[in-house]
């Protein structure tokens, strides 16, 4: 499974990977009952989700127009 050669699609794919990782961290933290779970959820999962969502929004803003 490779990344697309199209820059816009590649950004979407990277964004998707970041969000999947963030969601998996969140799922692990929900199953893990330790007191550090919330911190890991916010610190690692939240950061990955945030990065993925921002990258997705950037890909919308910088979507190449039909002339390019």
């Amino acid at each position: 499974m490779t990344l697309s050669v199209n820059p816009a699609e590649r950004r979407l794919q990277v964004s998707g990977v970041l969000i999947i990782l963030g969601l998996l961290v969140e799922a692990l933290c929900l199953a893990w009952r330790g007191p550090l779970a919330f911190l890991v959820f916010l610190g690692v999962g939240g950061l990955l989700l945030f990065a993925g969502i921002i990258l997705f929004l950037i890909s919308l803003v910088y979507h190449p127009g039909p002339e390019s």
Binding site: M1, G16, I20, C29, A31, R33, L49
Partner: protein, 210 residues
């Protein structure tokens, strides 16, 4: 596992599956439907999952089990099972004067607008102290500030046993002083035996709740 957590885990799995489809076929986003799907799975669903996750974790952090999961808090958990009604915390816990599932949180959260937020920020400090410094022994742990009667009055004010109690009315100035937080409920001679974790070796424990 409670229903919302199970539901949230299912929602996370569903989101991951949809994102995986988008990863394998990013070309679907050229269509209007694909764009809407991308927005839903890369923006709306992750935010929904994160919001529900934070809410779930915050709710879980109120539980007695969560507070007692730190090794240093074990004696405080044990003090809730002391078989002696003069121990204030034990009497409240065992008689369900506070919700047994949220016993620590119920008494140790300020009943003010930002009480919960303050409790969570202090919780972060506790994590720092626990993992990155040498925490004090359990019997040396102190409250940040003297225990405010407001937390007791949140439940007891207006209750007949409190307002008309013989000891509370033995001195006409006592109840007004307690209500004004000028005389502490846990001051000497009143309800001063609270957790007293230093004396746990000499007390009998109640096992009825287990």
């Amino acid at each position: 596992m409670t229903l919302p957590v199970s539901f949230l885990l299912l929602l996370i799995l569903f989101s991951v599956a949809l994102i995986a489809v988008l990863f394998v076929r990013p070309g679907v986003t050229v269509t209007r439907g694909g764009k809407i799907m991308a927005f839903l799975v890369l923006f709306f669903l992750p935010i929904l999952c994160a919001t529900m996750g934070i809410s779930s974790e915050l709710e879980r952090s109120k539980s007695t089990a969560f507070c007692l999961s730190c090794h240093i808090m074990e004696p405080y958990g044990k003090s809730l099972r002391i078989d002696d009604p003069s121990y204030l915390a034990a009497a409240h816990y065992q008689n369900h004067r506070v919700p047994a599932e949220e016993a620590c949180y119920t008494c140790h959260t300020n009943y003010t607008m930002f009480g919960t937020a303050k409790a969570k920020l202090r919780g972060l400090r506790h994590v720092y102290v626990y993992y990155f410094t040498t925490p004090p022994p359990p019997e040396k742990i102190k409250l940040y500030e003297p225990y405010n009667n407001r937390e007791c009055l949140h439940c007891h004010e207006g209750a007949r046993s409190f307002e008309q109690g013989a000891v509370h009315n033995s001195d006409p100035g006592l109840l007004p002083a307690v209500k004004a937080n000028k005389k502490s409920c846990i001051s000497s001679g009143c309800h001063e035996v609270v957790h007293n974790v230093g004396t746990l070796a000499n007390v009998k424990l109640w096992n009825g709740g287990s």
